[in-house]
Symmetry: C2
Amino acid sequence: MLNAADATFLATLPEALLRPVTPADVEDPRGRWLGQGAAVAVPRDVQQVAQILRACAAARVGLVPLGGGTGLVGGQILPAGPVPLLLSLERMAAIRAVYPDENVLIAEGGAVLADVQAAAEAADRLFPLSLASQGSCRIAGNLATNAGGVNVLRYGNARDLCLGLEAVLADGTVLQGLKRLRKDNTGYDLRNLLIGSEGTLGVITAASLKLVPRPAAEGAAFFVVPDPEAALRLLALAQARLAGMVSGFELIHRQGLDFLSETLPQVRQPFAHPPEWVVLIDLGLASGMDPADTLADLYAAAGDLVLDGVIAQSTAQRAAFWALRENIPQANRRIGAISSHDIALPLGAIPAFLAAVGPALARIGSFRINCFGHLGDGNLHYNVFPMPGRSRKDHEAEREAIKTCVHDLVDHFDGSVSAEHGIGRLKVGDLEHYGDPAKLAAMRAIKAALDPQGILNPGAVLRA
Amino acid sequence: MLNAADATFLATLPEALLRPVTPADVEDPRGRWLGQGAAVAVPRDVQQVAQILRACAAARVGLVPLGGGTGLVGGQILPAGPVPLLLSLERMAAIRAVYPDENVLIAEGGAVLADVQAAAEAADRLFPLSLASQGSCRIAGNLATNAGGVNVLRYGNARDLCLGLEAVLADGTVLQGLKRLRKDNTGYDLRNLLIGSEGTLGVITAASLKLVPRPAAEGAAFFVVPDPEAALRLLALAQARLAGMVSGFELIHRQGLDFLSETLPQVRQPFAHPPEWVVLIDLGLASGMDPADTLADLYAAAGDLVLDGVIAQSTAQRAAFWALRENIPQANRRIGAISSHDIALPLGAIPAFLAAVGPALARIGSFRINCFGHLGDGNLHYNVFPMPGRSRKDHEAEREAIKTCVHDLVDHFDGSVSAEHGIGRLKVGDLEHYGDPAKLAAMRAIKAALDPQGILNPGAVLRA
């Protein structure tokens, strides 16, 4: 059992290392939980992080690492149990170095994702991790949760964009792993063990990140498709023709466009009558290639797979296309989902899953479904909303049944109940229910080996 | 202390699960060590692998997993201590399934890499892992060692090509992780922990592997460059122009071409007079692009970075270019290296490293240096050979000093002393000397948690 971070404990840390807890530190973006914390530790360097962890270890006090607070599964929110110390890397937000010739950038863990992107762009490079919360999420949080987003199809998730980590383990030891190497087979892969461990195995204080050359030309189009199966065949066609130059392939359902019209009418929509299914395809091309021509060729080659299309004719138009996509989560939030599901499926199973899940949910009640997301990765956000005139509160009693219905079907099709958002505290039970028991046992053994007192983000990922 | 796999122990396993040890099972490809083994376990399925591991755990007997036996660091060779049981997946070599629409292939651990490549090709897909030993190495060995090779620049190493694993842990529990998902954030990344752990944390019995669409057109060229720095600038130019379509970028030194002339005169060489430095550049292009034209454009754009060039005019010629590259290790073997170094450096540090290492070695003695490898990954094979008329035996006394000289400089430039070959038993001391002590301590804690008796590949990676 852990101890609360009481006044006696806080007195063991220099006052300058602490600040009071603000509402933003303990609020959940979806408003489902309220966290607790005795204070927020705000270290300036890795040695101070180590000092804080040594103090927590000595007093057996839990520590909850905060990033930008945008996580959707409660990984940063500890609502009950002994009050923990919170730790924010807000004072460790520097871009330590950029190596354009090596396509490498070193960022402190507290760097905001948009600032990392901007530093890369200033060096004429691209840091491809891109997601709706990039203006506030921090890179250590992106790595701790193995964030995904819209460019995973081409460039991979946060894991794939990290070459090395500096991190502090539960006992305060500092891992010095900030190498700028593309290949390094010297021992176990602690980097990937920490990535995605959601702050339960260590605190990531800095990262060596992969940049890529900016494509010589970029383009985007909305293609209307008859159904998700056609969208998948369009993706295969695009990939066969374009040798890896498809950067994004997002599925959008009419429901999302309707929610946008309803809640964010200022967002410009490309079609007078919202079609049932649209894909947003994004290309990053070689020099000498014209994006609009390339997309027009793809449209022509697609035949019956595509019913209609709009091709961006300028950089501004491409940005407007993406703004539409990125505003869908905001529209969803304004409508208020009863239950949101961040799921992944084998690509080939998506049509069968979608054919099965709608009727299964209809047996529970009448809902509006907004199914959208990163189709190229098999990652759908399958979100269930009340019918017009009703609110999510009216459906609280059905929420568990809805979630179980969706997750059971995902499991049936050999999918994942958390594609990119992680386990946090929301899905601890799902992991126990759907996860491989052997994997869970190995995870518990690793947690016990690296954090025997269980002080790091207690109750996240694994039940405390 | 482990027990030897004596007759009493072997009698606990069904006879049909065992075969006698052959010389190939215990020989090292470079002839440096001779291994030992009481018998070779040859399971037919994962449950038999689990049975074997349970028997080893119960009797506290060491188990050394064998792949194709092509590893260069002794990871598959246990020369001393209690005689272990060997385990070969030679009877588990099936391609279980190919999902062309999903770009996924499921292979058993014993599948030979070339067979995986062929199965992908039969489905009009590419499995991009490609290395000199592909005709005999097995996929479980590739994954256990996180194999690299010639396409890492574009497609990543073995780690990056694996979506999921089936594996057996030291206590015989079976990890069921053969998902076909691009995104799955459900718990700690055991897949990447097992990948690169060289059989010390588990036995990989099957893998879900990423395929990629075959590029619409492929091409290759030899470009003569004045020095490695120009080669790096050429790489940056190619990447800026070609939006990720550079598949390989190999550095070749004149010494390698001379070794080929000397030992394999039948290998056709592209230049009448071997140039000092050549790069082999390989492209996989989008439809409508002409490889020879694209390479000619690159040649023209490169200006002074390229002194001369030969562009493959046919698929056969491209294959011949690659055959030259892939024969260099064979030529090296025939000459007989005193000391071979599989190193990685930050790309920007390569010129300074090369400027420093030659003079440093000259202070030890007179040698021929063949420096070649995967320049795009910062991965050089920096191999030191005797002068003509002398043999590697003449230099046994200097071998340690040579290795230390090279590795110290690699460490100075923040590189890796094992880029793609792993630690095995050869580099256990290097890992202890050059590795991060905090990483080593965490590795030992993980090893103790998952294999408390130390039965899995004892003495590999971590000292027993």
